[in-house]
Amino acid sequence: MRRPGLVLGAALLGGITALSLAAPLVTRYPYAAQDLTRQYLPPGTEGHLLGTDLEGRDLFSRLVYGSRVSLLVGVVATLVSLVIGVTYGAISGYVGGRVDAVLMRFVDVMYSLPFLFLVILVMTLFLGPKASPARRVAALLVVLGAVQWLTMARIVRGQVLTLKTRGFVEAARALGAGPVRILARHIVPNLLGVVVVYATLTVPRVILQEAFLSFLGLGIPEPYPSWGRLAADGVRAITPVESHWWLIVFPAGAITLALLGLNLVGEGLRDLLDPRLERRSPGG
C-alpha cells in the first residue's frame, strides 16, 4: 500500500459511520433507559457488552448513539465555519488591495483573541440550565463553527489570489461576467479540493472542543450522549476507592479512534493535494 495512513483512516471512519448509521440494529438497550438495579455493571455482564454507568444505562448503546451526536456536531459546525471562511476569504482575495489588507488584518487580530473563552462565556451565560436542550445544541453548533473559520479564510484567500490571475478568470471577465458570477462559478469550484481537505481536519478539532466543553458541563445537554460527555462522566467516576475503568476507557478509545481516522484521512488527502499546506494546531 502506498498510503497506509489514508487507508487506515478511511477504514476507521467507515467503520464508525456504519456503526452509527446502524445504531438501532446493533444495540440491545435504549441509550437513555435508566435501571438503578444495574448500576456500574462491568463489561460483559448480563448482555451489557461494555458495562453500565451510574444510572444503569448501557454504555455500548450510549457510545453508538453518541457517535451520531459527536459526528453531527463535528460536521455541522464545520459546515458553519466553511460557509463563513470561504465567503470571507474569497471576497478578501478577489477584491484585493486595501479591502484585502483590512480584512486580513482583522483575521490577524482575531487570531490573538482567546476564542474558547468567548465560547465558554456564551454557553454559560445565554444558556442556563433552564434553556431547552434543542436551543442549546443549536447555539453550540453555531458558536463552535463561528470560531473555526479563521484558518479557512486565510487558506482560501491565498488560493484565490493565485486563481484570479489565471486565464480562465480573465476570459470570464472579458465575456462580461460580474464579480459575483466569477467567484461563484469559476473560482469557488476550483477551491473545492483545498476546502474539503481543511474541512476534514476541522471536524476533529470541533469534536475535541465539544468534548472539552462537555467536560466543563457546557456541551451537549442531557439526555443526548455525546462522546465528550461520556468521557467526562467517566473521568468523574474515577475515585481512589473504586475505579469503574470501562466508563473512561471505552469513550476515550472511541474519541481517539474517530479523531485518529479523521486526522489520518485529512492529512493523507492534504499530502496528496499539496504537501506544503499549513499545519494546524490542537485545542483552542
Binding site: P204, L208, F215, S243, I248, I255
Partner: protein, 322 residues
C-alpha cells in the same frame, strides 16, 4: 517558512521603536475591545449576580446592587468600569467573594496558573524539538515513522482523557505523584505533562518539517563538505532556521495552553485562574469574569509579541527593511 511567519515579517518591516509602540497601542486596543465585548455580553445575558436560589428581600437586594453600582444606567456602569481599569488598573470588587477585589483574587490565583502554563510550554518545546530533530535528520527512517505516528495520537487524544489516564497510573496505581491540590512542585508535574504533550506533538511536526527542508539547502552541503560532524551540522547550522515555524507557532500554542489549563486545573483541583473563570461565569460574578478574560487576553498579546521578537532574533532577514 510558514505563511504566518512571513506575514508577520512583513508587518514589522519598520525599525525598532515604532514597532514596539505599535504593539503597545495594539495591546491597549485589545484590552478595550475585550472589555467592551465581555461587558455587554455579560449584561445582555439573563441572570444576575444576586439571583440566588433563595429569594432575598427586595430592599436587601437593592442595597447589594447599589454597593456594586449595578443600579446605575448601563452606559454609566460601562464608563466607570473603563475609567477604573485604564486609570487605576482597578478591576472592581468581586460579588461572589465579598470583601475581596478582583485584583486580589487574581494576584492569588495567577502564580499557580503561570507556573503550570510555563512548565507545560517548556516541556512541549524540549520534547517537541527533540523529537522533531530525531525524526527530521533521517526522514522516512524508523524513528521518523514512530514519531509521526505518536504525533497523530498526540493531537487525537482529548487532554482531559490524557489527564485522567496519567492521574490513574501515577497517582492512584503507582502512587508516586499527588493527584489533587497544590502541594509544591510535584503536584504540578502531572498537570504540566498533560497540558504540554499535545503541543509537543505539533511542535515535533513543525520542527521536523522545517529541518527536512533546511537540510536540503546549499549551505548545509557546504558545511558537510567542510567535513563538519553531522551533529554539528544539524544543531549548529540547520536548527536555527528550521525552528522558525516553531517560533511562530508559539503564539497559538500559548493560546491553546491557556484554554487547556481551564480543564486541567479542574481535573487536578488546582486553585488557579481557570477555576475562577468558569465558576465566576456560572455565578455571574461580572467583575471577576471580566478580570480573568482581560488577563488571559493580555497574556496572549504579550506572548505573541515575545514570539515575534524571538522570530526577529532568529531570522535577521525579517528585522531589516527590504
Amino acid at each position: 517558512m510558514s505563511e504566518e511567519a512571513r506575514d508577520r515579517g512583513g508587518e514589522r518591516r519598520g525599525r525598532g521603536a515604532p514597532f514596539v509602540l505599535r504593539r503597545l497601542l495594539g495591546l491597549l486596543l485589545t484590552i478595550f475591545v475585550i472589555a467592551t465585548l465581555s461587558f455587554f455580553l455579560l449584561r445582555i445575558a439573563p441572570g444576575g449576580p444576586f439571583d440566588e436560589e433563595r429569594a432575598v428581600e427586595a430592599s436587601v437586594r437593592r442595597a447589594q446592587e447599589r454597593k456594586y453600582g449595578l443600579d446605575r444606567p448601563l452606559g454609566e456602569q460601562y464608563l466607570r468600569y473603563l475609567r477604573a481599569l485604564f486609570l487605576h488598573g482597578d478591576l472592581g470588587p468581586s460579588s461572589r467573594y465579598p470583601g475581596m477585589t478582583v485584583n486580589e483574587l487574581i494576584a492569588e490565583s495567577l502564580p499557580p496558573s503561570l507556573a503550570l502554563g510555563g512548565l507545560a510550554l517548556g516541556l512541549a518545546l524540549v520534547l517537541g524539538i527533540g523529537a522533531g530533530v530525531a525524526a527530521g535528520t533521517r526522514p522516512g527512517g524508523p524513528a521518523d515513522r514512530a514519531i509521526l505516528l505518536l504525533t497523530v495520537f498526540g493531537v487525537s487524544v482529548p487532554n482531559f482523557v490524557l489527564g485522567a489516564g496519567l492521574l490513574w497510573v501515577f497517582g492512584l496505581w503507582l502512587r508516586v505523584l499527588p493527584v489533587a491540590g497544590l502541594t509544591g512542585f510535584s503536584s504540578l508535574v502531572l498537570p504540566a505533562v498533560t497540558l504540554g504533550l499535545p503541543f509537543a506533538a505539533v511542535i515535533a511536526r513543525l520542527a521536523r518539517a522545517g529541518l527536512v527542508e533546511t537540510l536540503q539547502e546549499d549551505y548545509i552541503r557546504t558545511a558537510r563538505a567542510k567535513g563538519l560532524r553531522e551533529r554539528r551540522v544539524v544543531w549548529g547550522h540547520a536548527l536555527r532556521p528550521a525552528l522558525l515555524p516553531v517560533v511562530s507557532f508559539l503564539g497559538p500554542a500559548a493560546a491553546g495552553i491557556l484554554t487547556g489549563s481551564v480543564v486541567i486545573e479542574r481535573i487536578f483541583a488546582l486553585p488557579g485562574l481557570g477555576t475562577h473563570f468558569v465558576n465566576s461565569a456560572l455565578n455571574r460574578d461580572y467583575s471577576l469574569v471580566m478580570g480573568t478574560v482581560l488577563l488571559y487576553s493580555v497574556l496572549l498579546v504579550l506572548l505573541n509579541f515575545l514570539s515575534d521578537l524571538a522570530l526577529g532574533i532568529l531570522d535577521p532577514r525579517i528585522r531589516r527593511p527590504r
